[in-house]
Amino acid sequence: MRGDARSMRVLAPRTPAEASRALAADPRALALAGGTDVMVSWNMGLLNGRTVVDLSRLPWRRVRETKAGLELGALCTHADLRRHPDVRARFPLLAEACATVGAAQIQNRGTLGGNLANASPAGDTFPPLAAYEAIVRCVGPTGRREVPLAAFFTGVKRTLLAPGELIESVLLPAPPRPWTRSLFRKVGTRAAQAISKTVFAGLLRVEKGAVADVRLAFGSLAPTVRRLKAAEEFLRGRRLDAEAAARAADLLGLDVSPIDDVRSTREYRLAASRGLLIRFLKGD
């Protein structure tokens, strides 16, 4: 362990405003929610000499019903969400995703907001959030704003959070009608405690034999989570059969661009994702 606690300054703000001010005042300061990503950098000694702003006193660990849907506080842990009855009943793909993040210890510490702010291309909660068209509520020195998840990530490990700006909560809008079918599927490097090679969330509503609404999202296939806009567009209004599923899957490459890395290959990620997509669309 190369982290040197004595070289670090830890601030524990009592209010969101204090936290924002502390972070805005020091561009190298680091916000700490669950700390699961922070500990990796700490181990490598990368945080020596830095200021850490501990967010644990902020009142952001609750799930709340609003007119628009379900609002999840940014400090809710993955364990909170995988257990929460409303999340499980109404947004089951998110609950399932939370249950696949890291190990139990990581799920107990890691938070929804921290996961979003860290912006890993492989974030397991992001495909469900993208499919549910989540809205990220941010608060900072210049006030509050709401950002659609699709716009929140700007690149690998990058978001549009401004200096001093924090994620306060995530809003999951209630769907107008129930989904016909939904699927979360993570392909990790092993059966548990794994980082995703590809991770999928799909929602489908069929009305009168044709696709009324379809939302398909993949993680680990691009710098940020991606909705398959071309495939969704192709499917909308169409009768779902094996041919339509295969043709939609052929459009995968228009919205994702996976790479070779130490965990997998571009070729595999495309082939496995295509297979999952066809399986979901065919309802096997």
Binding site: R2, Y268, G275
Partner: protein, 744 residues
Amino acid sequence: MAAMASVGTSALRREGPEKLTGRALYLDDLDVPGAWHGVTVRAGVPRGRIKSVSFDPSFPWKECVVVTAKDIPGKNVVTLIEPDQPLLADGEVRHREEPILLIAHPDRAKAYEARSRVTVEYEPLPPVLSLEDSLSVKEKIFKDDNVFKSFLIEKGDLKGGFALADFVVEGEYRVPHQEQAYIENNAMAAWEKDGVLTVTGSLQCPYYVVKALKVLLGRDESKVRVIQTVTGGGFGGKEEYPSMIAGHAALLALKAKRPVKIVYDRHEDMAATTKRHPAVVRHRTGLTKDGRLVAQDVDVVMDGGAYATLSAVVLSRGTLHATGPYECPNVRVRARAVATNTPPNGAFRGFGAPQTLFAAELHWERISRALGLDALTLRRRNLYREGSVTATGQVLRESIGASECLDLVVKRSDYEKKRKDYDLWNADPAKPTWRGIGLSVCHHGAGFTGSGEVYLASRAAVALTRDGRILVLAASTEIGQGTNTIFAQMAADALGVPSDWVEVETPDTHKVPDSGPTVASRTTMVVGGLVRRAALELKAALDAEGGRVPKTRADLKKSAAALCGREPLRRFEVRYEKPPEIVWDEGTYRGDAYGVYSYAAFAADLEIDRATGEVRVRKATTAQDIGRAVNPRLAEGQIIGGCAQGLGWALLEEPVYKDGVMANAQLTNYVIPTSLDAPPFDVTIVERPYSRGPFGAKGVGELPMDVPAPAVAAAVRHATGRLIATIPQTPERILAALAGPEDA
């Protein structure tokens, strides 16, 4: 009446509760008073000449101690087999993780900071990064041919054998590095007191460290003391590298004139320390049309890395196991270990045998295809039995459980029915998975190869103290496999006392004799045999003194007082004696390569997701002939643990090398199995007793590592119709193979 026998019962692991509750402390957890923290500056280039070393003048160097090769009082060498590996590079650098200099600082974080303030400049030299590049000898990095060691085994008339063959089947097989991934990283502390340099830490072989320190420091063995701390696993990974770290800690401690502790973090441990040797194995096999072997020609190449280290002996074991447990009248095995500019490879559970056995076993799949006979029938026709003659001319006389293991596994896994059922399943396009079941049978020589045990001349002792304590004194280390428990069981039964009367001394070279290294599946069979003999000597002395073995603790105290007289203890030490029937010629590689072999069969029953290629092992069935199981529960633990490690190698683990360094040297991306990846196990222990083993015991530690990989590859072939001749059999490789044609 004598105490109830302990051997054959599942006595609980002695250190189990301490480890389970976290009270057992590794060196990193131990406070070594006044210790500074040592760190290692490593090369960072795969090959080059050191031009200059500079120290950032803005750093307060006077707070540190810095050690270079010039500070070495004796020879700058890690003593093992060949004296080629320096402790600190001096001049030429041969791999990226090679130590250049050492820094100690009172503060751990500052020590790391100091390391980042050292700049080493090199004149780069072209590196040899792969086994193929080494064989091509474009660059000479070791003698004229880059070959550390070669072996040749010949039996019968190879050419004549091929002339008799109805079929000749060829195949090439490759296996990668593997990381031991023990739970505790390497760690050592050193200090000098009253002229004695003491080193303590995580290790398998205390006397290897003593021998290395003696040469490094140029001092008498009595002035060097090595003590094992609680060790979090070894798997071969703490056989040789601890000598390097112990030397580093010793040099820093001597210069700093205070204790110094070096604890590797996971990244450094994975990047710098030894791995399993990667290998390429080629088979050319002649058979009659009814499936009898008539000729086996095997060529083995292993990547040794930058220094010779243990490559010669790893290669030897690989060579001696290269034919698999099958009798063939005409055999040639050629084997080479070559040099590359990568961190040296070394010992890992199985020690060369899993590499060559993977090839030998998976080759039956190719043979099966060529002959139109199933791999089970082929194996049964050729398997070792009593009277079989091995490639080295060894006649197998006793304790040969190969067929029994195979029959048990075939029955218990329902192999023959599943072969048929899965063919139907796989032919149905509506099924979401493919299913397959595959077999393997392996042998594993117990103890050191050839004359190894004779050269080692290991010793062990049993002592009785005047106050009635019975102590086992041996250098064999407890590294999670149960040494302490089984030594106590064997000594107790030899004495005829309850096993909880027996204490096992922690390996400390000032207290225990040199029992040889804790390797080669030799602890139970070889050192256990010494412990038993020493205990029998104590028993004879007790008999002579009191006419009987004590029945109560009070009895024992009385006998002890009488036996010891004025001495604090009486010690009974014995030395290894070679059984007279074992004959080995090191020059020709002919004769009894091992005193005895253990045998194992394995069936991998697995399922592959058709969309993603993910593999789930549904069940692992294994039967293993290990002679008498001294402690069945611990033996079963070794079997399940070793097979799980073998399944990791078969399916998940793949060190990715880029520019001569491991690119995934963290546990995040070097993927070992979790409990959810481990299948349900069906384990049968077959006990064919070995007359020379204590209580009939043979070796068990390494054997379980040999069997899973070839069985998994055979099962993947059954499921997909594709033979993938390498591991790990990742979803990536499986989908890529499926994109290609079915096996011809």
